[in-house]
Amino acid sequence: MKKQVAKLVAGLTVAALAALSMPTTSGAAATLRIWADADRKASVEKVAGVWGKKAGVTVTVVQKDFGKIRDDLKTVDLATAPDVIVGAHDWVGELAANGSVIPLTVSKSASAKIPSYALDAFSYANAKGNKVVYGAPVALENVGLVVNTKVATVPTSFADMESQALAFQKKAAGNFGLVIPGGDAYHNYPLFSGLCGYVFGKDAKGNLDPSDVGVGNAKLLANAGDIDKWNKSGLLSSKVDYGVAKNAFLAGKAAFWVTGPWEKDTLEKSGLKIKIVQMPKNKCDSVPFLGVQGFMVTKFAKSHGVESQARDLVGNYMLSEGAQTQLSSENGRAPANTDSAAKIDDRLLKEFAAAGKGGVPMPNIPEMSSVWGDLGTAWTNVFKGADATPAKAAFRTAGKNIVAKIG
């Protein structure tokens, strides 16, 4: 009896084992795996599919939350790892330092059609201080000043914007002039750059220099009185968060809103009469942060035996006009390729793109993670109404903290 039991267990175990281990032995066919976010999955499938047919490669697109792509890349196992990822340019420094993505060499004919700042945004300096490209930029985004043209006109100067905003605000209770999410370093960047603030300076070779932090720079501090003035006059308040700002503008109760193309559909559906421009120049140009999104080849492509193919897809095909036009039409962002960008016929997308003129790509060096928190805190503290910290002190402290955190 006991021996029979043992035999039975052994037999059944082997059977179960055989059945379960079947799928692991197959599946080494010629496939290239791409991680893309929900917005882009369909278009990436289409675009990469066309390439795959020509190249004789089966392309699998795996859908991930955008932020998860970066996080999961750190822990993924080789068997399920992606060969190509969609990502934001400001991940590049970290991914390159971790060796998670591999350097690409882009041909001159392909890079000629891509704005140099977009390619630079996807570059990270190597030991010799040369820019090494790690990704193919495909989409650009930035915030703009959305003007409700029913209640305000496109401002001709910063002072004009300020006075229009305040006038509208005083017109009725519950009215807002200019709404910007409080304590948010990204959305407030046009104000910051307009007062001559910058995050990182550049070294002699044009690479971002983490030892030159411009958050508390002298020019900004000299102009900081403006911020206190805006707080005092009630132009801006850190109690306005993203939801309050959005709801107010969509209800027609705000004259100006700083937001980006991710709200394009909402703006179109709102029925408001709007025009999007760059925030007018203050002491310096009020340029926004630029976000560039694109494709990168991971270190796993080599182990999967698809490195050459992945390089071709990313560094060659994805930069082409055809691929970028297709991606742009489904994702609602301006394409990076200039030929493709010239063909956009969406008014809002065009206006957002124009509002990004002269913008600064978000710093992509890993040290940027020391910046967001403190810069955001400074913005919160200066627009707290009666309890506000004087802007000079707030930004000086933020600069000091950031330098200390970078270490």
Binding site: L12, T13, N98, T105, K108, S237, K239, T377
Partner: protein, 527 residues
């Protein structure tokens, strides 16, 4: 008498469950479960082996063999049969993570230090290849003898070449064509490598170099391009240094997971390395850590203690009120009061963040004055405690309802007969008995709230800042402060430092809990 007793005997659910495993039916259940376990685990072991996790595979195999042994050898290891499942889970979910944390705490493991050393060498070399001026359109081909040949067309001049491992040879540009996709079509006599075969030669193609006269080489970039380049670094394995080819500058292993030259410049890509107690001492030597530590620590204790005590007090009060036997709709009240506990904490916290907005939040619209809930350091502290109390109270209400029922009514009645008033009964009889039961839970809840990252981070993000500034905000507890240090400063991630600080926090919580348990023993003795 005995007969009626046995007839009335109803086995507990657990005993009934165990009885399933005896007899022939039990044997079948047992064998079936073991088969599933063996099958799934064997599959997992194979996956581990294929992914070079041999140590893990062997460990899993050992555990599996142990389990089979325990359950298949009859009548020998009865106690083990009960202990094994719990022990295996304990090891897998508690001991292994603790081991990992300790192991990580002794490593340089941060942004730029995640690879192995060998990978770091290769990555540094790859990132520092010096690009030349020329770029070629390329197609990998095989000539008639089957040798790999790159057919190259200069991107700017249009000159065409054959690139072999032996060198470069110019050919007639008109013999090379272009297809609809812009890909190069090789001249006759050469077969383009396409599709499946490109996978087979992937590694070969990536390593293929066409040497150029006068130095430099041409490398393939993908399957349709190539560029001239020169290596920027070479690895000297004998000396374990990376040497810059242009300046001859050498970067040596600095013992801390990076290549460093004599000027102290480090290469971007480093590797994971054991660095002894450096992460532990960093906590003491780094002024950013040291300075606000005491303030964050004091606030953490206040936050955890007041959350627990206030929640307990309110929970006990509600439980006592609901304890009235004649109360109507008791079930309804009870289920309504449990709602904050049933709603996911993340959701409640984010909703509260909106409710507490000073100008636009619902709470300030309902009450006659406008406290700056999340903006003033003191009000923010109050907000964090209030919201935590909201989330924790139902737990203590449930616990107290159970505990109150376990207090024998005779004791209460006896006290009342002796002439004690309501308050005296509660204070002298009910509460001490209750505390004897609940204190361990109070301590556990304290330890939990001590590390309650979500409540702080999602509600206030640790802010607002206090006057002396520093990284820690007014409501930062130790764990949220650790998160800011390890994941929002420096170069983004520092797992080593985070592990070291969490070990410190473990000792703090352990010490406080230990003293708490000693006191609760005293309470038990009061009985």
């Amino acid at each position: 008498m005995t007969a009626t007793h046995t007839a009335k005997y109803r086995p507990s659910f657990l005993a009934w469950l165990l009885s399933l495993f005896s007899g022939i039916g039990g044997l079948i259940v047992k064998v079936a479960l073991l088969c599933v376990l063996n099958g799934v685990t064997s599959w997992a072991i194979i996956v581990m082996f294929t992914q070079d996790r041999a140590v893990w595979a062997l460990a899993t195999l050992t555990v599996l063999a142990l389990i089979d042994f325990v359950y298949l050898v009859p009548n020998r290891m009865l106690p083990a049969k009960f202990i094994v499942p719990g022990s295996v889970l304990l090891i897998a979910y508690l001991i292994v993570p603790i081991f990992f944390t300790i192991n990580t705490a002794f490593q340089k493991y941060a942004t730029g230090h995640v690879l192995t050393k060998a990978e770091a060498v290769d990555t540094n070399i790859a990132q520092n290849v010096v690009q030349g001026e020329r770029f070629f359109k390329m197609v990998p081909t095989r000539d008639e003898s089957g040798e790999l040949v790159l057919v190259l067309v200069d991107d700017t001049t249009g000159e065409a070449y054959l690139g072999r491992a032996s060198g470069l040879q110019e050919i007639d540009p008109t013999s090379v064509g272009v297809d609809d996709f812009g890909y190069t079509v090789p001249p006759s006599g050469f077969t383009a490598i396409e599709g499946e075969e490109l996978f087979a030669i992937d590694a070969e193609l990536a390593a293929f170099v066409v040497p150029l006269e006068g130095g430099g080489e041409i490398r393939a970039e993908g399957v349709s391009g190539a560029y001239d380049s020169a290596p920027g670094f070479e690895y000297d394995a004998a000396r374990d240094v990376l040497v810059a080819t242009d300046t001859g500058d050498s970067f040596a292993d600095n013992g801390r997971g990076a290549f460093e030259n004599s000027q102290g410049e480090q290469l971007v890509v480093g590797w994971r390395e054991y660095i002894g107690f450096e992460n532990f001492t960093a906590v003491v030597t780094n002024p950013m850590v040291r300075q606000p530590f005491l303030r964050a620590f004091v606030w953490t204790v206040i936050f955890a203690a007041s959350t627990v005590l206030i929640s307990f007090a309110i929970g006990l009060f509600i439980a006592k009120v609901l304890d009235k036997p004649k109360l109507r709709m008791k079930r309804f009240y009870r289920s309504m009061l449990v709602v904050p506990y049933a709603v996911p904490g993340f959701l409640s916290l984010l909703v509260f963040k909106g409710l507490l907005n000073e100008d636009y939040g619902l709470i300030n619209k309902l009450i006659p004055f406008d406290p700056p809930w999340l903006f003033d350091p003191w009000w923010a502290r109050i907000s964090v405690i209030l919201v935590s109390v909201w989330l924790t109270t139902p737990y203590f209400m449930l616990v107290c309802m159970g505990a109150l029922q376990s207090i024998p009514t005779e004791l209460v009645e006896a006290a009342r007969v002796d002439g004690a008033g309501r308050w005296q009964v509660f204070n002298k009889v009910t509460l001490p008995l209750l505390l004897a039961v609940v204190t361990p839970l109070l301590i556990a809840s304290f330890a939990y709230n001590f590390n309650n990252f979500n409540n702080v981070y999602l509600l206030t993000g640790g802010g607002p800042t206090v006057d002396d500034q520093g990284v820690a905000g007014a409501t930062d507890i130790l764990i949220s402060y650790t998160y800011k240090l390890a994941f929002e400063s420096g170069k983004g991630q520092d797992y080593g430092l985070a592990s070291a600080i969490s070990i410190y926090i473990f000792f703090i919580v352990a010490a406080m809990s230990a003293s708490g348990f000693t006191r609760s023993k005293a309470l038990e003795n009061m009985k």
